[in-house]
Amino acid sequence: MAIQRRRFLRGAGVAAALGLAGCVSSNPLSQSDESGDETESQQSPEIGDDELTLATTTSTYDTGLLDELHPPFEEAFGITVKTLAKGTGASIRTAEDGDADVILVHARGAEDEFLQEGYGVNRRDVMFNDFVVAGSEDDPAGIEGMESATDAFAAIANSGETFVSRGDDSGTNKKELAVWDESGVEPGGEWYQEVGKGMGDTLVQTNQIGGYTIADRGTYLSMRDEIDLAILVQGPLEGGPTILKNPYGVIPVNPEVHGNANYEAAMAYVGFLTSPRGQDIIDSYTENGSQLFFPSALGEEANFGQYVPQGYSAEQADSLSKRDRQFLYWVDTHVSNDY
């Protein structure tokens, strides 16, 4: 227990140093050396045993965002990041088994469960974008321009046109099932194909068979050159329904549960992603001229997004209006009008 407390204190010290530094300057590194006099991190910015295992979604990996975020983080802390690109469900399972130190995922309901069961601590909001409903341009089900994702899904189901589902318990898959649930249509039958693959694979397959699918905007934009699919229903970034919001969170694994988790490095990672520098990198990352992710960790209203009340369930998390308001606030403050 004493050891864990010490580890927690060290982690907290590091996070505090980072947070403090972040307030003062957009370059937390130069500052942490000066402000670190009272903390334990003053000797060197290097922390932990130098390796951090991150389990994350294919969307953050395949878009190339992590390739931009990790080199400055590694240079700053002397930590090597090992990235496992899986679906959100698989990432959470990996973390529950103690095989990852931190997760970066996008399914708030599942994240809350993960926190409530005690596997994760200190969740922070990192960034957001949205989901879009994509399909071939001739749009046989006639969903183009629909304001409601649930109506669009119902139209696809009624038309019997092929819908390609990730079917892999990823964040996108969970979102898709939530939309089906809302639409009151039970997906099933020959028109509904579960492919059990990552987002890129699924888009490629949808493109080939000429069906519909739901995709996160980041992966869709980064693959626009490889596929002929069009966005038929927009997400909230472009005025679409808030049910298609897509917030990403970062959660360190609880060192109380998995003693071998590299908690200091995980907290440093959380600190980096949510620092002005990390948020700048996310903000300025573009592919094909489009911004893929919008940072959401910093704002005028303090919101740490880590508190999960007892009895808080996944269903509530998906439809809670406070969350929706908060998301729309992000969209208002971070997304330019001509996006």
Binding site: D97, G98, D99, V204
Partner: protein
């Protein structure tokens, strides 16, 4: 050489060579360990008569058809932090990949070696024994006689290992460091990444490299065999 940098937009030569190196390291080490285990087992089974020998042989032969993803899952459960070998921190390491490929390659090598050993005539064994050889001498003679079959077994095991993707994707995690060097990404798992992102051409280039690699190893194997055969017939050391 290849239009590699054109087809792999984000890739550098470091990336390319490191995934080749990881592929060779993992499959090579797995096959080497498999061979060390398989040879004595095959010799032991081949030399002895015991009740249930047929059943054992059948089990080994079945092992050649193990679904690699199932092996991957089982190995991951074993090396996972929650598993029996959790303390060794093997999950998502090249060593875990070696372990799963060892499980996959061993039945192949054992089975083919076993048939090669059993193909060596009793007369050879009897002759060696009759000339006053110890068990070890007899074993050596049999290995010498069965060497072509054993080389074939090792090549088959290597082929199984290096072209396999299901288990190493699960136990290795397909990790590349942010400087572009591979940690647990092999040629086969790199192809899955390219395919996932719709870059089929890049995947095919990597596939061609994999093919060349397998071809090279097999060429090496046939060279060893032909050299051995030439020397054997030239030296007249083979029994008729």
């Amino acid at each position: 050489m290849f239009p590699l940098t054109a087809t792999l937009p984000d890739a550098s030569w470091t990336y390319f060579f490191s995934i080749v190196a990881v592929s060779l390291y993992v499959s090579g080490l797995a096959v080497a360990v498999s061979t060390l285990v398989s040879l004595p087992v095959a010799l032991g089974i081949g030399f002895s008569e015991f009740p249930g020998k047929r059943a054992v042989t059948a089990v080994i032969n079945t092992g050649m058809g193990f679904p690699s993803v199932v092996v991957g899952l089982l190995v991951l459960l074993v090396v996972s932090n929650q598993g029996p070998l959790g303390d060794l921190d093997l999950a998502f390491t090249p060593e875990a990949m070696v372990l799963s490929q060892f499980v996959l390659a061993t039945p192949v090598i054992t089975s083919i070696t076993l048939s090669a050993v059993e193909g060596v005539g009793d007369d050879v064994r009897d002759a060696a024994f009759g000339l006053g050889g110890t068990d070890a001498d007899v074993a050596l003679v049999v290995i010498k006689e069965a060497r072509y079959g054993i080389v074939t077994a090792v090549l088959a095991g290597f082929g199984r290992a290096i072209s396999e993707v299901g288990s190493i994707l699960i136990v290795g995690g397909n990790i590349v460091y942010s400087d572009g060097t591979s940690y647990t990404r092999t040629l086969t798992t790199a192809i899955t990444v390219e395919a996932r992102q719709g870059r089929y051409e890049a995947g095919l280039v990597l596939g061609a490299v994999l093919l060349v690699l397998v071809l090279g190893v097999n060429w090496l194997g046939s060279w060893i065999r032909s050299r051995g055969r030439g020397r054997a017939s030239g030296g007249g050391r083979r029994s008729p």
